[in-house]
Symmetry: C2
Subunit: 292 residues, 2 copies
DNA sequence: CTGAAAGCGCTAACAC
DNA sequence: GTGTTAGCGCTTTCAG
């Protein structure tokens, strides 16, 4: 088997590299990737980077690992633009999430700016006055977060409003503890928000936990919208209004493009593939049984 | 790199095989396994079986895949005792979760019977009268579930009570929808339960969702205890009382034993390693701020 | 159509 | 200590 790979010059395996496995968004996405790859006879090999830039770089820069897998689907976290360019060009690569591409790889994700804008407009249209955003990352590796912040601002502009800068909170990651802590901070403000746009459902879950344990009601006192549409948000109390990316399509598209790259003698042009998303309204903005 | 493996007869990789990646219990455990393996210079290769017995069998029976990885940490779901015995004995193997071993592999987990008994006794000691159990699996591959049911019965016996058979509900898996559905069923009974022992936190989350959307209060009307201590249960509303297995120890022990097996010229005796667990009391049985 | 030989890229053991 | 060769287990090619 191993010898066969050596002889054939291919392994029949593709690697999927994600920052964290315990993030539901990734594990749900992985499911779909594994299934999509399996129908094409490919096995999937998963690697977790912990968001470590060194580890991430090694994966795409080090040509020696080639042959262990025929291609990589990669969701980078701590990698800047340059590291992506200084990669081993021979390794077929598809990037997940929004990234500017240099044309040597494909890249699939939803339109984060538009989605974030839509989420924020929903909050504005609910009549909320002081809308917070949790999850900004104003530094080089926070490209994805910054796109959401841009959407947040655009929504305000589109409705003739000005976002309150002190209500845009940065967090190191997009997880529950981050969300809970950011919400604590927001509630300690002189004028706390009456709505929050969270950059992930995990952040929203953490924020809601803080709100409820402080005795506030969701959505009556504070409306919350999340991002990712993970299963947790469909069973939480309250359920979470969220941006739902079409994970199935992201996964199948990524696999499809990667296999095409693998089998293609001459590398195809790098594409920006955009999967659809939708806003799903649930209790955290609509309340128990009175949507709208 | 690939050639090196061929020449050396080892790959420096271990495989971890789990049924579902999107089950938080597994993804949290995987994190620890990956880290433990990494400090020993091993890379981790993850595979998801979807609980498919065929796929599971192939992994341990098919010697041809040997050399792709030096050993396997395996959490079987649809595999019966026989399949585990008819395996390729040359492949170093460690099984996760409770399983009777034939001595050719190690096997690490917590004491499910004792833990389940403890969880149930907690409910009894709260003064609950009609205690349900959600998650039994009364068939060949449901060994783990059955141990929890045994603990449930033992707790009743220890307190001089008789479990109500109609309150022991079977579910195909241990996830949120299963829990939600089982709870619907229980609430439609003439005499619904006033407490529930769920065989996973996911089941508990689903059950709580059903309770709350039916207008019942947790824990006032129905107390709920879960199993696994996943992060969700620490941020849900209410937070979940649960059996907390020492995942870190399970992971490090599994890796340690596997590496020992890999490096050992003569296979060590198969051990039954038991990791500690504890009952963590939270809001779903203790209420908001009045523990006990 | 079946069978032997060369070689995938690297390591280990050996000789120089 | 450095240089060379056999060979890991399979595939592929070429000759029989």
């Amino acid at each position: 088997m191993l010898a066969r790979n050596l002889a054939q010059g291919r392994s029949g395996q593709i690697a999927v590299v994600v920052p964290y496995l315990d993030t539901p968004y990734f594990s749900e996405l992985l499911q779909s990737v594994i299934r999509a790859a399996r129908v094409s006879g490919y096995n999937v090999l998963i690697d977790q980077t912990d968001g470590d830039p060194e580890h991430e770089r090694a994966f795409i820069a080090d040509g020696s690992r080639r042959l262990l897998f025929d291609g990589v689907i990669f969701s980078p976290l701590g990698l800047d633009q340059q590291a992506l360019t200084n990669r081993d060009r021979r390794l077929p690569l598809v990037i997940l999430g929004e990234r500017s591409s240099d044309g040597s790889f494909d890249h699939v994700g939803i339109d984060d700016v538009a989605a974030s804008r839509q989420a924020t407009e929903h909050l504005i249209d609910l009549g909320r006055q002081r809308i917070a955003a949790i999850g900004d990352q104003p530094y080089a590796t926070g490209e994805a977060a910054q796109r959401r912040t841009r959407g947040f601002r655009e929504a305000h502009a589109a409705r003739g409003r000005t976002p309150r800068e002190d209500l845009i909170i940065s967090t190191p990651r997009f997880n529950r503890p981050d969300g809970a802590q950011a919400m604590e901070h927001l509630l300690d403000l002189a004028e706390p928000p009456d709505a929050v746009f969270c950059y992930s459902d995990l952040v929203a879950l953490g924020a809601i936990r803080t709100l409820l344990s402080r005795g506030l009601r969701v959505p009556e006192d504070v409306a919350v919208v999340g991002y990712d549409d993970i299963e947790d948000g469909r069973f939480s109390n309250p359920t979470i209004t969220t941006i739902s990316p079409d994970k199935e399509m992201i996964a199948t598209t990524a696999v499809e493009r990667l296999l095409l790259r693998i089998s293609s003698p001459t590398p195809p042009a790098g594409l920006e593939l955009r999967a659809p998303h939708k806003l799903i309204i649930r209790e955290s903005t609509a309340g128990r049984s009175t949507p709208g």
